[in-house]
Symmetry: D2
Subunit: 341 residues, 4 copies
């Protein structure tokens, strides 16, 4: 079976496992006060070009989203997201469970535009009864988005400016950030991204780690007593070194970027193959998730040989499906898949 | 520096790391639907002698406590714990953050007696205004307790009976269960424990794993849509295999019990040494945590050579401290420490 | 100044004040255990033709919505509402603050159709990943809606059936129920409405009371320990008689219906006047809220003489406004207003 | 039947009902933006000698406690209360439901001493692991207490100072404030109380109103967007005038103080009678709640003639009971009761 189900279907990049083994017997304090976490934090600051950045490691994406949103928002605030945004759709109501509304605004190709956000905010403050509504306090976006698309530097900049105008924070979910920044279609570097938002995370789980997301507040501003709140929601890791060692390895000798680049190369081959064979794309993704449209027959056929996710049924009976590459994808599997088309 | 700070200051038992490496490239679905998790689940059922048990893996202790308590309690219910109970003291108010009161009742040596619980419940239902108070819906205990002490089989049985009498669940925090059940002072087996409660967990983080706790509902009764609620609080692990592989390894060839026995042996040597040298015990613990009382001078002296936790300042100026052994403790370190006394 | 701002801008219907005065010195227990509350409960059961109904009095609309939704939903469930629904728009995120998502589906004239709900639910359960999404557990509608429109008996019946098909409760916000049921356009009685939902409330605040909404579970099914949960959110009234006396008065000699009929009559005169003078309607409401479209000049002119709410700015520069009648509206004010057009 | 069950068993002081009737038809905006609320607010500022005070009206005591605590505390903070404090005992876990722990410290005669609070806080900050515990952020006391006792001006001052030392707010529950300040044993005025805390409320429900508590932030500091949060928990009153008119009446011609004084006079007669007849006091209360100890026989006898609350069963088989006076207590009932002893 060819495996394109997602980018979290194998363990960890071998260099991460090696590093876990090498450091295994070194005694270190718990809860993230270990030397590996300190080193990883320092490396992230350097990668982000943000010497004053505050960095905190969490285990997963929903956890990172929940933690950032619920600790940064005031009780009377809500978070704005695209209608396709992960927090509004596939996180089991985690944000609402923490007490905050997700305001879903129409996106385009998974992206939220500065204009859409500004219009909403202007309408909100113009409404005489707005004290009876939750205030927009944050904008949440993903880079790349749920559809694999990318914000440009200019788009990000404009969103950040609009956020500033209306007293909101801009938060970027970077669960697949490595695949985004390594895309040839991406026009920004990590420091440039860090410069254009208030908080973001560098995803580990989907980019080669066993688990782990590195939360970055590029210019500081991590909420006071953040660790207490992390503990409060059961997200504090006793052996914090597990996250520290992994991120330290990911940012040693450019491993994180190497992982991203390799997956993108394979994804581009996959995409080119689909296009060449006349398969319509559901979304034009320049990153490691590829969305194509299959007829019922094609779907049935491919399913016998490959594991991939059905994304959405289409009104005409066809189905949008998703193929994902990662650090673990074997080039020969791409070849085999393309031959099957 | 000799390291007795806690049982989570090193990585994982080498056989766990080996198993992670061996299974690393096998593609498996996420979110706990992998074959390793299925196997670990099966092994736990066998170990517990509970073929109908429902098993779910979470990453840490506070997370396990929070998840069990907040999903099993109704909104109008509270959880009873000993005044020294971990959930009431050192979990940053996580239970209250989830909406539930922790009713602290006086314990003895860290243990809660069935009589104390029954008295509280009788008083509660006799109070005409009890509809204005949160109802006791669960009893939370730890085996071993925060002070390293152990419940006997008879004590557990009685507690479980009282819980049944008042419509409450009995939940056992087994963060250090391996050290408890392997203590020569322990008069119960894992199946006997499983038989005398409604839900408990087998701790991994403190017993050799990188992270992970195995939640067990021995006779079923896991709340409906448990996974959705786990996701909702950001506790679902994308690469669920990380937990599955580890518990599979822990329950292969009795590794879990081997880890427990070894740490207990070392702890008993430590305790005997302290007693022999005339150091008073703060608590008489038969498990891997040892509590002794140090004078200011002794404290200052030992601190130069060993890392351990100060537990509580005593009224007479002395200090209760804690020494912890684990799978990673080196026997020679025990010798060195004892020579320093 | 002519006052059409809302139906809660005066005190209470005089017969309610009289009844409060008459009963004032009778000593009765607190928290709703008084004889007036018992009597009001009985009268509501009779009016609803629902002898087994459970009835509970709360002080306001948002409170009633919040209490019903947060006590009936499980933690993993969300509530469906029309995109114009009060709970999703003008309640400051109260439902989300209680932990539940409001799933906004497109409505038509403020109404949600059974088809829209069924489509959503079918799509939800067809989605392989639906365990990662909050489950639809309830449908919330208002009768009349926020736009003054009414569900027909057939529409309600179909919605109720769809709710049953997907294991959801149907909850009707009846903040203005008296105005809805007394509309000549309404094709259902109170018992017929009670028969076609799982829980609803009979609004008092907007229909002549100082405060108060009567929650009705027509066939029982009030959640266990409801009072404890009401207390828990600070909604229990010490002098529960305040609510009991008022509802007892409202359902003595048909006062509630008399209030409704009178306001409808005045609203119909207002509407006819607007239509006659060529003012376009923003919504065709058969109840006590009337929505018309004003040009900027008309708005400026009318504002000098009358208080009313601006509802929404329209893209063409005109403004939708709302005029509301109530038990307190003076017929001569309608005449004066119509002369001003 | 003689009625001493509580101070909320009748309607409202007649002058309040009169004022409701007089103002009934005056049209005013909702949600507390009416002229009566503005006037009441102004009168309270004057009574408190606090021209900059921010004042907000809520309907009940638990609601006021919940609102103050949950809006002033940060998520990582807990509230300290005496072990007999109302919020920890009789509010159905409302504070915990809002996410915050109530730290119960031992009180004396229902009062919490500055020393007890300071000791707790010193211990908290001395604990190396305190980031794993909820931070004390507020001290909650009642004046008078649940046992009818009173803090002296010096005690209050010291508590307020300790709060300041540890960055905590001092919050006074004044559900029965009128009875406290009118006690001959009270050594402080309302402005003196307002000067020695950060927020408090002037209770209406138990002091002659139908419902209502006036929250006062004497030197400002009401949390931003307070109204939005009040709405969010379903506590906003549409006809805010209901609260405004009542407090306006209570603070016209000293009605509030007159009500307090009268109830205290009657309570003192009751207490003197009990003492004279040799009934032991359970608590020595100088306010409108009187606590006496009855033998089983006395209890049985009195119950046939009078309604009062049993407070607590005593170990020796006797029972502590509570008699409460109010604006509605008839002097002749006191006489009749005393004759029955």
């Amino acid at each position: 079976m060819l495996y394109f189900l997602s980018d979290y279907t194998e363990g960890a990049h071998p260099r991460i496992l090696e590093r876990l083994a090498e450091t295994n017997l070194i005694s270190q304090p718990g809860y993230g006060d270990d030397c590996f976490t300190a080193s990883a934090r320092e490396k992230l600051r350097a990668e982000c070009g943000a010497p004053d950045a505050e960095v905190y490691f969490l285990t997963g994406g929903t956890q990172a989203n929940l933690t950032v949103i619920s600790t940064l928002l005031q009780r009377w605030q809500a978070v704005i997201a695209a209608d396709t945004g992960h927090i509004g759709v596939h996180e089991a109501g985690a944000i609402e469970y923490s007490g905050h509304k997700v305001i879903a605004l129409p996106g385009r190709d998974g992206k939220l535009s500065a204009g859409t956000v500004a219009d909403y905010c202007r309408g909100f403050y113009a409404d005489e009864t707005h004290e009876h509504m939750p205030f927009p306090g944050m904008v949440y976006i993903s880079q790349p988005t749920e559809l694999g698309t990318l914000y440009t530097k200019a788009e990000l900049e404009e969103l950040h400016r609009v956020c500033g105008d209306f007293g909101m924070k801009l938060f970027i979910d970077g669960a697949r950030l490595g695949y985004g920044l390594m895309s040839p279609a991406c026009d920004m570097t990590l420091p440039e991204l860090a410069d254009r938002c208030d908080v973001f995370y560098v995803g580990g789980t989907k980019v080669g780690a066993l688990c782990g997301e590195a939360l970055v507040f590029p210019r500081g501003g991590m909420p006071a007593h953040f660790a207490t709140m992390v503990k409060q929601q059961g997200a504090m890791v006793a052996k914090g070194r597990l996250l520290g060692v992994q991120f330290d390895a990911l940012f040693t000798d450019g491993l994180y970027w190497e992982i991203g680049r390799r997956a993108i190369d394979l994804a581009m081959r996959l995409k080119a193959g689909f296009v060449e064979k006349g398969y319509p794309l559901f979304a034009d993704s320049p990153t490691n998730q590829q969305f194509v449209i299959l007829t019922e027959e094609q779907l049935r056929h491919l399913r016998q040989h490959a594991a991939f996710e059905t994304w959405a049924p289409l009104p005409d009976g066809r189905t949008a499906v998703r193929f994902v590459t990662s650090w673990a994808t074997r080039p020969e599997d791409i070849d085999t898949l393309l031959r099957l088309l």
